[in-house]
């Protein structure tokens, strides 16, 4: 079972938090602090797994954003890494070339996507199509009620261009990659 998922920037700013088990507020703050310091201190190219208390922390960096997932001890680390990856793919499919800005300004959408993907600390649905269909059907309503409220990432990037220079697309060139062999992931600056 997963315990929590945190998204934070390279500067240690929290972008998203999801707690799958009840944890008191104070404890949460401490965990966030611990996680950001621990993960940000890691050297590039080192192991993506960490120990923290009795939990295992799986983290991965996508462009300027760190995804940090805590799992219980008997869980599979590699699989958790792919959970993170699938979430990024889901975000990417929804936003189209997702970048940190999309998550900052539309964080509620990111939560909605997460809630369709993971539920109560377990995988709910892994199919990109299904999750998207789900989100879109809810969004359809949204558009029906108040057209045009959804903001599209492209405009945002233009709009906030100067402020968020560090922001770049999380999954640079992710789409259309067929995995053959070797290190193609890295070569595409997929995981920086």
């Amino acid at each position: 079972m997963m315990r929590f998922l945190l998204l934070f920037s390279r500067q240690g700013k929290l972008r998203l938090q999801k707690w799958f088990t009840p944890i008191p507020e104070r404890e949460k703050k401490k965990i966030i602090r611990d996680m950001t310091t621990m993960v940000l201190a890691r050297q590039p190219r080192s192991c993506n797994f960490l120990h923290w208390k009795d939990l295992k922390i799986i983290y991965k960096r996508y462009a300027s954003l760190y995804f940090c997932l805590a799992i219980e001890n008997q869980e599979n680390e590699l699989l958790a890494l792919e959970v993170i990856h699938r979430y990024v793919e889901l975000l990417d499919k929804y936003f189209g070339n997702v970048c940190e800005l999309d998550i900052i300004f539309n964080f509620e959408k990111a939560y909605f996507i997460l809630d369709e993907f993971l539920l109560g600390g377990e995988i709910q649905e892994t199919s990109k199509q299904v999750v998207n269909r789900c989100i879109e059907s809810s969004d359809m309503l949204q558009e029906y009620y108040c057209e045009g409220e959804t903001d599209f990432p492209g405009t945002w990037r233009k709009y906030h261009g100067g402020v968020y220079e560090q922001t770049c697309i999380l999954t640079c060139g992710l789409k259309g990659i067929e995995i053959t062999a070797g290190e193609e992931y890295r070569s595409r600056m997929y995981c920086i």
Partner: protein, 1137 residues
């Protein structure tokens, strides 16, 4: 309203646009969040951010509480509040509004409302109760999206007490035509199962239906529940093995829709979930494991793509292969696979490779040998995580020969590690290794010194405790004890003469105790010198008062001679006016005892071991006082947890409108709440406290069971120096059979065949010292074993009364089969044959056992019937024909049948008239076969173990030990010590329950000797339902009333009524009476009271009331867990009817 706008105008110009230009609200609503975010990024200091957010929050606060705010605006406000909370600013004022939004908003607003609720609150938050009605409403909505939202929030958090209110609705959703709804409903039920398993017990057959769902997504969701249930009780789900295998086969074969692919790998999450389930099912169970061998092989073969996800599957596959009953062909492939991980250049895979090795090395130490050079490299890896994992692996392969090198590596790591959790863990491991394998006194004391100074005050308190215990209890040789203690004293004196200020408190406490106790062993040392050294500690600034009292106690033991007394006087004067009462007490003791040497000799006799102090844990001497106080009108004592429960209970009561039924009528409550009899009161009390003492006792015993190889004359250093400096040899990865007989491992090392370059030599040397002892020697198997048993009992059994020491022995040798295997391996076992043989010996029981259980005196027939019917009804869609065959336990049960008849004739004559459970096969070891059954007597439950010897020679020195965490086991009559050839001997054990559990498991160990052979042993286990221990309890209604009040543990549940009779209550109670042997005390109208007892004399009372078509049951007992376990059996009994 305009005031508000004006106030916030400066901070949030965009607010204006909302009110003045409603038409442009679409744009402005997001730009308000945008403005906030931009505003924050433009700030330069944390302080400014704080100011801005506080301003923002107060603006939001005003807006949300304004009656004019529309739900639409509320939605936007909520998003901003979520953002503020994420930045770490508390906004609890908005929680109630989030709930309101979820309740009143349109679908879109509701969505944000629910999201806010799920982010703001957790399942323990009291406001969540206000959400229950909304959820109820949405669950019944015709709008799918609303239903989805309600189910999503329910699966994330829901108040435990309110589950019954929505459970029927969620259950209903399992039949919904939309798969997404079914999937979410299954996950909601999974959540309920996790937080309140009792509540969903009755819908287990619905889980089966979900497992057979035509939509793979729903099926996958149901696996979460199954994984959990199977982990808790693998025996109950063996019949599903073939189904899981069939599903996995189809998934691996690519039969699922493309939708489920992840990077062209078919449903990896599903695959891994299934592999985990299979490993639980196949653990220690040969026949079940055989079903899955083929599919595991296929999984290994199919997962060949070079991608993380395939490695994840491979890793899980390897883990499964090593967990289930071994098959050599598969093990070989798995080992090769681990090799791929370990040798991979990718660091994540290397890490997992090390982890897999750690897991596997207990069964197959030669795998560690194969990869020794990689392991050495990882030990020096710059990434601490890799290093840490390598140490974990080394910890598993530590033996007496490599302990010094490994401990040194661990201490090295400890010195650089900054993580507390790691330190605590590693320090404990070092201490464990030091106690087990220390080569000599000097090393042991020095290592423990490092442990104490590095571990500091964070380490587990049992480390210093067990160290002191070890010192004080000593070993067989008095001379060795003396040497060890003397060495400790010397070492501590020199530490105190150095800089004691740097030592952690715990270490100082250890030092002062040892010096107080043993410094007299050093003859050239005057007590007064030690006194002064200790007195110096008292003056240190950072010395805690706990340490001070340890020091004072030590000084009290030491005040001899005039100079010693004067130091003591001085110190005691300082502290006899201390504000700390404990310190003052110690100072007073010191003062008096230092003056009166006669009294001191009596109070603190020297050199006497730790004789146990008799403690009356039930506090029975207070019974008189208690009864007097009660007679004088005092309220009966309630333990804190009960008081809290009752408080919670009253809370739950007020929620009645939501449809919670109150199982007991108020009137009966009030009449019962009068005067409890003193008798039952005190028995309840002492029952509780003895229970506690049991728990404490068993924990202490377990500590004793830890193998202490350490001791005596540092025996290994005599045999073989740990590392010869000039040696450039490595243990050969491949063993040759000719060397297997050699006992001494050093001779089994072969020189390296190829000359190695200089730089590698160092590493190779390290390798040779690390992996020494993992080399081959098959004969050690028996040696190792016997050695181990002697070591086990090496520690003197001091400080235990006769009775407790026997139980200690039992728990020692019957701890559990795995621990034997474990320690055997630590003793240089490499021969995997023996390991596997050991591993095999325990299983076999599986389905026979469950069958035997089901047939137990007819009480559990319900279980089997239920299973049967389940099987018929709900055959998973993906299941093939083989399912039926595999699920039928008959094939391997058959051979035992004739024996059953045969053995029952060996039942002791006095028991032959009583009904007994089916005779179950326990284990077979060579020609000895063990079987068992249980016999229900009126006042006891007997376990009968049949030992049949089918060999041509007699088996001698038979010792059958049985133990259980939940049971008190005592041997009845004489146990046989010898079984002649081709005959059967019988052992009898009387069982009584210490701690109730739904099913109670016994672990046992039989050890014996063949005339021409060495000692042998085999583990076994036996399981029986709690109902075997239940007997009717005949009481009158008045007695029932008084007892009811006195009992502190209770549980409530609604059960299904049996409705085929005119009198459903009577009919239901009769079924319970028949199946569970309960006593129906009285039935009045729609209420009934029932009583039973758990052997020997633990009462449990049951109050039943017919309410809204169900039977509201309330159980009470003085024994914790008993009501919960009993309600489970009641449910099963009624379901099966």
């Amino acid at each position: 309203m305009s005031d508000v706008v004006e106030k916030t105008l400066t901070a949030l110009p965009s607010l204006l646009s909302l009110d003045s230009q409603p038409g442009s609200a679409k744009l402005s609503s997001t730009s308000k969040l945008g403005n906030l975010i931009r505003g924050i990024t433009e700030l330069t200091s944390k302080h400014e951010e704080e100011k801005l957010i506080q301003r923002e929050l107060s603006a939001i606060k005003e807006q949300v509480s304004s009656p004019n705010t529309t739900m639409r605006q509320m939605k936007e406000l909520m998003v901003r509040t979520i953002y503020c909370e994420m930045l770490g600013y508390e906004a609890s004022f908005s929680y109630i509004h989030a709930i309101k939004l979820a309740q009143q908003g349109t679908v879109l607003e509701k969505r944000v409302g629910y999201l806010a609720v799920s982010l703001f609150l957790n399942e323990n938050h009291e406001l969540l109760l206000l959400l229950v009605n909304t959820v109820l409403k949405d669950l019944q909505s015709t709008n799918l999206i609303e239903v989805c939202m309600a189910l999503t929030v329910v699966s994330q958090m829901f108040p435990k007490d309110m589950i019954p209110a929505i459970l029927p609705l969620v259950e209903e959703k399992l039949n919904h035509p939309k798969e997404i709804i079914r999937r979410k409903a299954v996950l909601a039920l999974y959540k309920f199962y996790l937080i309140a398993p009792n509540q969903v017990q009755h819908i287990h057959n619905k889980f089966r239906k979900a497992l057979c769902d035509k939509d793979p997504g729903v099926m996958t969701a149901s696996l979460h529940i199954y994984l959990q249930m199977i982990q808790e009780n693998p025996e109950g789900y063996k019949d599903l093995t073939a189904s899981f295998v069939a599903i996995l086969k189809q998934v691996v074969g690519g039969k699922l829709p493309m939708d489920f692919n992840y990077h062209s790998v078919p449903a990896p999450w599903l695959q891994i979930q299934l592999l985990r389930i299979l490993s639980f099912l196949g653990k220690n169970d040969q026949s079940t494991s055989e079903i899955m061998h083929e599919v595991l092989d296929e999984s290994l073969r199919r997962a060949e793509m070079n991608h993380n996800i395939t490695y994840a599957i491979l890793y899980e596959c390897v883990k499964c292969i090593y967990t289930i009953h071994p098959k050599s062909e598969l093990l070989e492939k798995a080992a090769k696979c681990i090799g791929n991980f370990v040798l991979s250049p990718k660091i994540n895979l290397k890490y997992l490779g090390l982890k897999a090795l750690t897991y596997v090395v207990q069964q197959d130490p030669k795998l560690a040998l194969q990869h020794q050079m990689t392991i050495i490299e990882c030990l020096d890896h710059p990434d601490l995580i890799i290093k840490r994992e390598t140490l974990e692996l080394l910890f598993r392969i530590t033996n007496a020969q490599n302990v010094t090198v490994i401990v040194e590596k661990m201490l090295e790591f400890l010195r650089i590690s900054k993580d507390d959790h790691t330190t605590i863990d590693l320090v404990g491991k070092v201490a464990e290794l030091a106690e087990k394998y220390a080569p000599d006194n000097e090393w042991f004391i020095e290592t423990m010194n490092t442990v104490f100074s590095v571990g500091g005050d964070m380490m587990q308190p049992d480390i210093p405790n067990s160290f002191l215990k070890l010192l004080s209890e000593g070993f067989d040789s008095v001379e060795e004890d003396r040497k060890l203690r003397l060495f400790a004293v010397n070492s501590y004196i020199s530490l105190l003469q150095g800089e004691p200020g740097k030592l952690p408190q715990r270490f100082l406490q250890v030092i002062s105790w040892v010096l107080g106790e043993y410094s007299h062993l050093r003859e050239d040392l005057e007590a007064a010198v030690v006194q002064r050294l200790l007195a110096r500690l008292l003056d240190m600034k950072n010395c805690s008062s706990e340490t001070k009292s340890w020091v004072l106690t030590a000084m009290t033991k030491l005040c001899e001679g005039a100079s010693g007394v004067s130091v003591a006087q001085q110190v005691s004067e300082t502290y006899s006016s201390s504000l700390d009462t404990v310190l003052r007490q110690r100072a007073q003791e010191l003062q008096h005892l230092s003056q009166d040497s006669e009294l001191r000799a009596k109070a603190l006799p020297r050199g006497v071991g730790l004789e146990p102090v008799e403690v009356d844990s039930s506090l029975s001497f207070l019974d008189g006082f208690v009864s007097e106080a009660l007679a004088a009108g005092a309220a009966p004592y309630k333990p804190p947890h009960q008081r809290q429960e009752e408080l919670a209970g009253t809370k739950a009561l007020s929620l009645e409108p939501y449809g919670l039924s109150l199982p007991i009528s108020m009137s009966s409550c009030i009449t019962d709440r009068q005067s409890p009899t003193l008798l039952s009161m005190s028995s309840g009390l002492s029952g509780d406290s003895t229970d506690l003492s049991h728990k404490g006792g068993s924990a202490a015993l377990k500590l004793d069971g830890v193998k202490r190889v350490w001791g005596r004359e540092g025996y290994l250093s005599h045999k073989e120096p740990v590392e010869e400096p000039a040696q450039v040899e490595v243990p050969s990865p491949v063993r040759s059979p000719s060397r297997q007989g050699e006992a001494d491992s050093s001779h089994s090392r072969t020189p390296t065949l190829t000359p190695t370059p200089e730089s590698d030599q160092e590493k190779q040397q390290l390798a040779s010292s690390l992996f020494v002892g993992l080399g081959s020697q098959s004969s050690v198997c028996l040696m190792g074993k016997s050695e181990q048993t002697t070591q086990r009992f090496r520690r003197k059994a001091k400080g235990h009364s006769a009775a407790s020491s026997t139980s200690e022995q039992m728990s020692n040798s019957a701890v559990s089969p795995p621990s034997t295997v474990d320690s055997l391996l630590c003793n240089n076992l490499l021969d995997s044959n023996i390991t596997s043989e050991l591993a095999v010996s325990s299983p076999k029981r599986t389905s026979q056992l469950s069958q035997g259980l089901a047939a137990t005196n007819g009480t559990c027939d319900a279980d089997t019937e239920l299973l049967e019917s389940d099987r018929k009804e709900s055959k998973p869609a993906v299941i093939t024909d083989s399912y039926v065959v595999a699920a039928d336990p008959a094939p391997h049960a058959d051979p035992d049948r004739p024996k059953d008849l045969d053995l029952s004739s060996h039942l002791p004559a006095e028991l032959s008239g009583l009904s007994h459970s089916e005779i179950t096969h326990l284990c077979t070891n060579q020609n000895l076969e063990l079987s068992a059954c249980h016999v229900q007597k009126e006042d006891s439950l007997l376990l009968i173990v049949f030992i049949s010897n089918s060999s041509d020679s007699a088996v001698q020195q038979i010792l059958v030990q049985v133990d259980s965490d939940e049971l008190e086991v005592s041997c009845v009559g004489d146990s046989p010590v010898e079984v002649r050839s081709h005959s059967v001997a019988v052992c009898q054990y009387s069982l009584s329950v210490k701690r109730p559990a739904v099913h109670i498991e016994l672990a046992g160990m039989v050890s014996y000797q063949l005339p021409a052979g060495s000692p042998q042993s085999a583990p076994f286990s036996y399981k029986l339902p709690l109902t075997s221990f239940i007997r009717p309890l005949t009481v009158s209604t008045e007695e029932y009333g008084t007892m009811w009040l006195a009992f502190s543990h209770d549980t409530r549940q609604n059960l299904t009524l049996i409705s085929d009779d005119q009198e459903p209550l009577t009919a239901t109670l009769n079924v319970l009476k028949r199946r569970l042997q309960l006593h129906v005390v009285e039935i009045i109208g729609m209420e009934g009271i029932v009583a039973c007892r758990l052997l020997q004399d633990q009462p449990c009372l049951m109050h039943c009331r017919v309410h809204a078509g169900t039977l509201a049951v309330w159980l009470r007992s003085p024994v914790p867990d008993l009501p919960d376990c009993l309600i489970y059996h009641c449910q099963r009994a009624l379901q099966g009817h």
